[in-house]
Symmetry: C2
Subunit: 244 residues, 2 copies
């Protein structure tokens, strides 16, 4: 594909990526070579991270589609760019937890880190950096008109289907999916998974408890160690096949 | 009853009350003449508040028992003291919301203050001042072993029965129960409502939107205005009948 030109119109800029308009109903999701943690308090350049993230996200969306799960993914545009369908993103972060970790343990210290959660827990958070993406009561989005009554179950079902696909994929590669975050959008025919699926949004550990996710950076602040993990993730996952 | 002597053994001290041992399996819950807000950041002397709180709590527990809801209440010991049964308190705050207000609106600003919630929302929070009593995912207490699987529904049922009793009681007196907090304990036969039920734990407004609850203090920091509201609440509720 043609290199990104300054003529592309920026639609959105987040901490880890920018979205540019790219034809009717389509966009380019361009990942930054940056890592941030603790809600932007830590921030470092991480050359190469954008490309690993774009390729892994593409691979993960191809995986989900092979399970019949709709996503906003069109094709991998090479480098740090992914071509996507534009869609109405719901302002929620959907977190699925297979084991106790992170903010779950923080809000309830009686929980034991890495205790298995059966069934997995699906959390809805309000996507708002200023508020720190607060956990919601499951009924809040309905009360706020963000979700219709029947969509609440539909989102939970979707999240659990994504969990099955991702858990099994990484289990086959020797890694345990501790938890992950997705974002969801809707079009006329229902929900689709959007945003990214990378080591920034999944927590993945090997049998020795080593992390292959952003935890590496949170703990060490080393972008080098982080990138090593992300290279390994992509090697294990394989490259995306749908190029554009 | 005899005046409280220094010989009573203090079992627990919270922000608004102290619990003293008082015979086998029983205790005295003694309310302080103090008001605190914003998790203890504001604190003022409020002479008389202890007695209003003790009398109103007693009246409220008598109301709940008239609905067949078990509580830890034995009798009103006069002044600022209530005689209670000792019980294993579950470290949760159970919040029932009939309308959007307070921390619910804070975590999801898309909600409209005083929007009616149908059905009412039952929230479980972890009781921990240092953590700011964080909202839990409904399944967290089960994962942490605080509640058994079937107790989760039992607590929600209990909370909604308390809501029916309190809402209807205050509606008859021209006030709307916006939300309230209870704490719950268990004994051999099941759950009971414990702690206090006062203007500190219920949000009550009249048709003009005037508050008869701790909101008065949060907004004005006037203990005088707060006490005026609490006197009115007790006048409207009537005194407890079970004296000891």
């Amino acid at each position: 594909m043609a290199p990104l030109s300054g003529a592309l119109r920026l639609l959105y800029e987040g901490k880890s990526k920018r979205i540019y308009a790219a034809g009717p109903g389509e966009a380019l999701m361009v990942f930054k070579d940056e890592v941030t943690a603790f809600n932007g308090r830590y921030r470092d350049e991480a050359p190469g991270k954008g490309a690993y993230s774009a390729a892994l996200t593409s691979r993960m969306f191809e995986l989900l589609e092979s399970y019949g799960i709709k996503t906003h993914y069109i094709c991998y545009a090479g480098g740090n760019a992914v071509k996507i369908r534009l869609a109405d993103v719901i302002p929620l972060e959907v977190i699925v937890r297979n084991y106790v970790y992170g903010s779950m343990k923080k809000r309830l210290p009686l929980l034991k880190e890495m205790d298995k959660l059966e069934p997995p827990v699906v959390e809805l958070h309000y996507k708002d950096d200023r508020l720190g993406d607060p956990l919601l009561h499951p009924r809040d989005p309905v009360a706020a008109g963000i979700l219709a009554e029947d969509e609440l179950n539909a989102i939970e079902d979707l999240a659990l289907r994504v969990n099955n696909a991702l858990s099994s994929f990484w289990r086959d590669r020797g890694l345990t999916l501790v938890d992950f975050k997705i974002e969801v959008a809707r079009d006329n025919s229902g929900f689709m998974v959007v945003d990214e699926i990378t080591g920034d949004t999944m927590r993945l550990i090997d049998p020795e408890g080593r992390h292959y996710d952003k935890e590496v950076y949170r703990r060490t602040r080393s972008t080098e160690l982080l990138l090593q993990s992300y290279v390994r993730l992509l090697e294990a996952a394989g490259n995306p096949s749908r190029r554009c």
